[in-house]
């Protein structure tokens, strides 16, 4: 099995090993992230269709945001978003203090692998964007990893 390493590297984002060299992260943000995000987008859209099947009509935007933070998140990660804050002008901030995809990160390797954390949150960002778009809210979603397991999503609703 001589080229196992090469095969692992070629598997790209699906590979669980994060390459150590940081030059990869620049390439990542151009090509890999948008793809991961768009995969998440599709998944988010479809999940919402299933989840809202028997849900009553939503009152307003905040109601939908709450649905994403509670029901969707519970469905995906078995827990709710810890805090949802808004400035009432179309910006919402979701904070998850124990974000499941990051739960297995080694605390010691934080500095070394910090740039790689983006790989793990691009997909959930896409899910949020897809879910909200299926709920009729067009928005942009960005995320930051604050500490080892804490992830903050910022949702900015596009007003036309």
């Amino acid at each position: 099995i001589k080229d196992r390493k090469a095969a692992a590297a070629a598997a790209g984002p699906s590979s669980s090993e994060a390459p150590v060299d940081t030059s990869a992260s620049a390439r990542d943000s151009d090509t890999v992230f948008p793809k991961l995000e768009s995969i998440g987008y599709q998944v988010g859209q479809r999940l919402i269709e299933r989840l809202t099947k028997e849900h009553a009509r939503f009152k307003d935007e905040l109601d939908r945001m709450k649905f994403v933070c509670t029901d969707l998140w519970k469905y995906l990660y078995d827990k709710q978003i810890d805090t949802l804050r808004t400035n009432n002008q179309g910006t919402y901030v979701f904070t998850d203090n124990l974000f499941r995809p990051l739960a297995f990160f080694s605390a010691e390797g934080v500095d070394q692998y910090y740039p790689q954390s983006g790989r793990f949150i691009a997909f959930p960002c896409g899910i949020i964007r897809g879910a909200l778009s299926a709920l009729g809210i067009r928005c942009t979603v960005s995320a930051k990893v604050l500490s080892v397991t804490c992830c903050v999503f910022e949702v900015v609703v596009e007003r036309t």
């Binding site: 099995i1 095969a7 699906s14 995969i39 999940l47 469905y75 078995d78």
Partner: protein, 181 residues
């Protein structure tokens, strides 16, 4: 992955089945966009599965106190057990070749990862379950068994079941790196 996607699992190590299936579907769609030819996509899926299998086998052995398999039938049982453990969906083992070196894993009337999937006619050569084949091959390769796997039946293409045909090729000998005795 949980067998029923309805309720999220409380077990920390498990992931919602619907999420996995939808994600895999979206992933296949993305790979198809990137590579265009279904044949190339099959190769990528195989590679993806292979990498999963290579890593998963260690975890599987760590979780189960299993003795050495003495014949291929026991190996088949382990593969079956692994599917139950990781997918929550146990295939039937059957259709043994008289020589005992070839068997099938069969999921009746379902594809374990193929809910929500519709196949367009122009993609009939796409092997959606290829990732499973890759995973089995990768996993067995790590325990020195070389197998060849074909997809005999595909539920998504209108067959009655999903059937993976696994043929024993040879026992792999430990290959030492050059210069080390």
């Amino acid at each position: 992955m949980s067998a029923k996607g309805k309720a999220p699992l409380l077990d920390n190590n498990k992931v919602n089945a619907d999420l996995i299936k939808l994600t895999y579907g979206a992933l296949v769609a993305q790979i198809l966009k990137d590579y265009e030819k279904p044949e190339d996509v099959n190769k990528q899926l195989e590679k993806l599965g292979y990498n999963i299998g290579v890593r998963l086998v260690e975890d599987f052995i760590a979780h189960h106190n299993i003795p050495r398999c003495l014949d291929f039938r026991q190996t088949a049982e382990r593969v079956q057990q692994a599917f139950r453990f990781y997918l929550g969906f146990q295939p039937a083992v059957g259709n043994w070749a008289p020589t005992g070196n070839e068997f099938s894993l069969i999921w009746d009337n379902t594809n374990p990862i193929g809910d929500f999937v519709e196949f367009p006619d122009n993609l009939r050569t796409l092997q959606y379950s290829r990732v499973l084949c890759g995973a089995i091959r990768g996993g067995l390769e790590m325990v020195q068994i070389d197998v060849a796997i074909t997809i005999a039946k595909e539920f998504l293409l209108g067959d009655q079941a999903t059937e993976l045909r696994i043929r024993f090729n040879k026992r792999l000998e430990d290959a030492l790196p050059i210069g080390e005795d």
